[in-house]
């Protein structure tokens, strides 16, 4: 860091990690993949005012890190020499207590859980033709130190179970999947039932196998809780990341204090939820994570701000800087993001809908932050007729613009739930939770083939 500052940088940061990973995957109850590995590397980041440079390497020798810092600095020219401040060690809050380190459990025991799940999915229905089950474990030790005096270290442990069931008929194949996980150890398997998850995945697949193509058009859409929160993640969350806001590349830029959503909508990004999939002690700049209210009763309250974009925007940082690993410079990202619970019961929402689409299970999606245009797939959907859930429909896609959809949310349920996803963006693929209670969007464009 001294080498970096000597080149005229006004801020320097070193991020280093050593990560043990394990992955076991089964196809049809038989181990297909068993992998373990060691990620190892460091990234050096320098600021020159509102410009940043980044370098990374696997060679963590002092000599090489200094070389990376100097090579980076050569591209920029600072006009004064700064002094690094003394280190302050981060105080730990124990946000993600871990009971059983995943690598302390025999691989055979993990495989047995996957086998039980495969069996449960297979025996759910004769139409289930294939199953895929998996277990992913990560034990990451990270260190962040910077010239502002931050010295943060954290052991991050994550466990995730995945199950996919495929149902087949003579002409069709449909699949269902679930992937529960958290910033937790092997005790994940005490919290969830792999068999129940497997049966749920199988149920979706079998239901969709019998489904007719979804009609296309514009009508009310009821999106269920849990992974349904991907709508907010895509339609709004990405547009609230300072990465987009600072460049004026978001439809929500310059709208703090304004009504951007229906008054029924309160949305929160909370990196401190105990054992949450996107939770951590600190973000990847060494700032303690926080509970940030993004939207309160429809009013835009805050963006998600990292250090560099905070400088560019003149905004305070929010503990939201994240990165996949040392290969990526950190930037503002979501952690665990969700729409807060409202007052309607799910039954009331369905009953109040004359005709529409009920999206019980959502798939992934994507968004162009500049325009807010998003799209996502409905994995398990039903038509609603006369206030009742009617026949299942498949192949539906929801498309729209974030700013418009947020204003069109006209009912918010009381059954908040979160679900786990991997979010890919500028600083790589990171674990994020999406979440919401059941919501209804007054009108949406639904793509389908019916």
């Amino acid at each position: 860091m001294t080498a970096a500052l000597e080149s005229g940088a006004d801020f320097a940061e070193v991020y280093a990690e050593e990560t043990k990973r394990g992955h076991i995957a089964m196809v049809n109850g038989k181990v297909e993949t068993a992998l373990s590995g060691l990620d190892y590397g460091a990234g050096v980041r320098l600021f020159f005012g509102t410009h940043a440079i980044y370098g990374f390497t696997n060679d963590l020798s002092e000599e090489n890190l200094i070389r990376i810092a100097k090579e980076g600095a050569a591209a920029m020219k600072g006009d004064r020499i700064y002094e690094p401040k003394g280190w302050r060690k981060m105080v730990k809050r124990c946000i993600n207590p871990v009971r059983i380190l995943p690598d302390s459990v025999a691989k055979g025991e993990k495989a047995e859980q996957l086998r039980l799940a495969a069996e449960a999915a297979k025996s759910y229905d004769p139409a289930i033709s294939q199953t895929r089950t998996g277990f992913l474990e990560v034990q990451k030790h990270v260190l962040v130190a910077n010239t502002e005096g931050i010295w943060g270290e954290e052991d991050r442990v994550r466990s995730r179970f995945t199950v996919e069931a495929v149902a087949s008929s003579a002409t069709e194949k449909q699949s269902g999947h679930l992937a529960p996980g958290g910033s937790e150890g092997y005790e994940l398997f005490d919290r969830i039932s792999v068999e129940a998850a497997a049966r749920e995945a199988a149920r979706t697949a079998v239901t969709m196998l019998k489904a007719k193509p979804c009609p296309a058009g514009q009508f009310p859409v009821v999106i269920d809780n849990g992974f349904g929160g991907v709508i907010f993640h895509e339609a709004c969350g990405h547009g609230l990341e300072a990465t987009a806001v600072a460049r004026n590349a978001s439809v929500f830029a310059g709208k703090l204090g304004e009504q951007i959503a229906s008054p029924l909508v309160t949305a929160i990004d909370d990196g401190t939820i105990p054992n949450g999939w996107g939770s951590a002690e600190m973000d990847d700049e060494g700032t303690p994570t926080a509970r940030n209210i993004l939207i309160e009763n429809g009013i835009l309250k805050s963006y998600l701000v990292d250090r560099m974009n905070g400088r560019r925007m003149g905004a305070a940082i929010t503990g939201s800087a994240r990165r996949q690993d040392y290969r990526f410079a950190p930037t503002s990202r979501m952690t665990n993001t969700f729409i807060a619970a409202g007052e309607s019961t799910p039954a009331e929402i369905i009953a109040a809908t004359e005709y529409g689409l009920y999206a019980k299970q959502m798939g992934g999606g994507s968004v162009d932050p500049a325009t807010g245009s998003f799209n996502f797939a409905v994995l398990e959907g039903y038509l609603i007729r006369n206030g009742k859930i009617a026949e299942p429909v498949r192949g539906a896609t929801l498309i729209g613009k974030g700013a418009e959809v947020l204003l069109q949310i006209d009912m918010v349920g009381n059954n908040l739930a979160r679900a786990q996803g991997m979010c890919g963006s500028k600083s790589g693929s990171i674990p994020t939770d999406v979440g919401q209670p059941m919501i209804r969007v007054g009108q949406m464009t639904v793509g389908g083939r019916g």
């Binding site: 992998l35 980044y54 060679d59 460049r247 004026n248 896609t397």
Partner: protein, 447 residues
């Protein structure tokens, strides 16, 4: 530690620990990327990284492990991990390592001109792209991205059966995404260039094209739902081929994850469709003399004039079907085992200009982009439902831009429906390519 020396140390340690045969796959390289915004460096990245993946046979089973720490201290972690992983697998899944071939195709991987380029020269080129984009159309408000990058990667495989191959290649990439604004309306348009021939790079054209594309979509509106004739230009068609390329992997077919099992020799697409996977394509992004198993790269027709000729094989899936590997056994990353992957995978171009295709279509949609490919496609059934944008074509003329529509269909049916193929072969960043194609009776959801 030096690469070759470390590879040899790992092999020697593994054989001493009781592995009967083993292999060390190395991947390393350097990369550079600069992002220019408003005439200044908004981000700048410089890296050097390497890692290796080990596989070895222990007590009749194959185990994998990888490390990015190329130090002696990591060797016990590798070998213990590989042994534990091997124990979970059945002896039937055991992988025979490959002793290699007499000779390999000669490919030029490293373009010296690119290696000699200084960071300053790259920064200047990126700034020229930005200026050209900002001046490229009246409505351009700002740029979303203006990135220039170069990368050099090297792969080296060594095993206890004598395989010893290595190949290095470099590339430059440029990407500009421009934001056009008119009143309340915002549109983005992008242009992407990737080549190792730096001398052929035109920064001004790259910037200008992005600007033109953004401006051309201003004033876009949806269209009524219904069945339309559609021209998919190279970009969305390549994206679709990328999303569904897995259906051509024998590995997936054997497990029931593709509907093409047993279809070799039958007609699965229209006469117009010839689909190739060519590892030896001159200048191709994915060109390589050997795959991750050491099998030599080849140029294959997967579909020739509508007939399925072959699936893509790695050594394991080839053995199951009793055929030779097509040289498509690749590791996506160090973290993965050898699966199947495409090399330069593309729909062979036809003879029609895009103008001619538009004439032939008369009325319909010219689609220029898809969104949400990772979510709106079902790789098992072939179903897709994707948000799209493009232009409305009426009486053989482009009349206005179109947005907020979805196109739904099935990949297998689409292959059968392709009526004409353009001459405008486009390659995406991953080495997947397509010209424009014309298909009728596609389901569009809009108003």
């Amino acid at each position: 530690m030096e690469r070759t020396e470390f590879q040899e140390k790992v092999i020697a340690a593994a054989l001493a620990e009781g592995f009967t045969e083993c292999e060390v796959y190395y991947r390393g390289g350097t990369s550079f990327e600069v992002l220019i915004l408003e005439g200044e460096i908004a981000s700048y990245e410089n890296s050097r990284q390497e890692g290796l993946s080990f596989r070895g046979n222990f007590q009749g089973r194959t185990g994998y492990a990888y490390t990015e720490r190329l130090e002696e201290a990591a060797i016990p972690f590798l070998l213990t991990g590989a042994k534990g992983n091997a124990a979970l697998l059945t002896p039937e899944e055991k992988e025979e390592l490959y002793e290699g071939e007499e000779s390999y195709p000669l490919l030029v991987g490293v373009h010296e001109g690119l290696e000699r380029l200084t960071p300053e020269e790259k920064i200047v080129a990126a700034k020229r792209m930005e200026q050209a984009a900002l001046a490229g159309a009246e409505e351009i408000a700002s740029l979303d991205y203006c990135v220039l990058g170069t990368a050099l990667t090297e792969v080296a495989i060594k095993n206890s059966k004598g395989l010893d191959v290595s190949f290095a290649k470099n590339f430059a990439t440029a990407y500009v995404s421009a934001i056009a604004k008119k009143g309340e309306e915002t549109k983005t348009g992008s242009f992407f260039w990737k080549d190792r021939n730096w001398e052929g790079f035109d920064p001004e054209k790259t910037g200008r094209e992005a600007a033109k594309r953004a401006a051309a979509h201003l004033g876009a509106a949806s269209v009524p739902s219904g069945k339309y004739a559609v021209i998919l230009d190279g970009k969305p068609m390549a994206a679709l081929l990328g999303a569904f390329c897995g259906v051509f992997f024998a590995e997936n077919a054997q497990k029931g994850f593709s509907l093409l099992q047993g279809k070799a020799g039958t007609k699965i697409a229209s006469e117009q469709v010839t689909l190739r996977d060519d590892a030896l394509l001159a200048g191709g992004y994915a060109s390589t003399p050997f795959d991750s198993e050491g099998v030599s790269g080849k140029n294959k027709a997967i579909i020739e004039k509508g007939e399925l000729k072959t699936l893509l094989y790695n050594r394991k899936s080839a053995k199951k079907d009793g055929v030779p590997s097509t040289g498509n056994g690749f590791k996506a990353a160090l973290t993965g085992s050898v699966k199947t992957a495409c090399t330069n995978f593309y729909l062979q171009k036809g003879e029609h200009t895009v103008e001619r295709l538009i004439q032939e279509m008369q009325n319909g949609l010219l689609l220029t982009d898809f969104m949400g490919l990772h979510a709106g496609t079902n790789s098992v059934s072939g179903d897709f439902s994707l948000s799209a944008e493009g232009f409305l074509v009426e009486n053989g003329q482009i009349t206005r831009p179109v947005e907020q529509i979805t196109i739904a269909g099935n990949f297998y049916r689409l292959l059968e429906k392709i009526e004409a193929v353009g001459e405008d072969l486009y390659f995406s960043s991953g080495g997947i390519g397509s010209p424009s194609v014309l298909a009728r009776e596609m389901d569009i959801a809009g108003l």
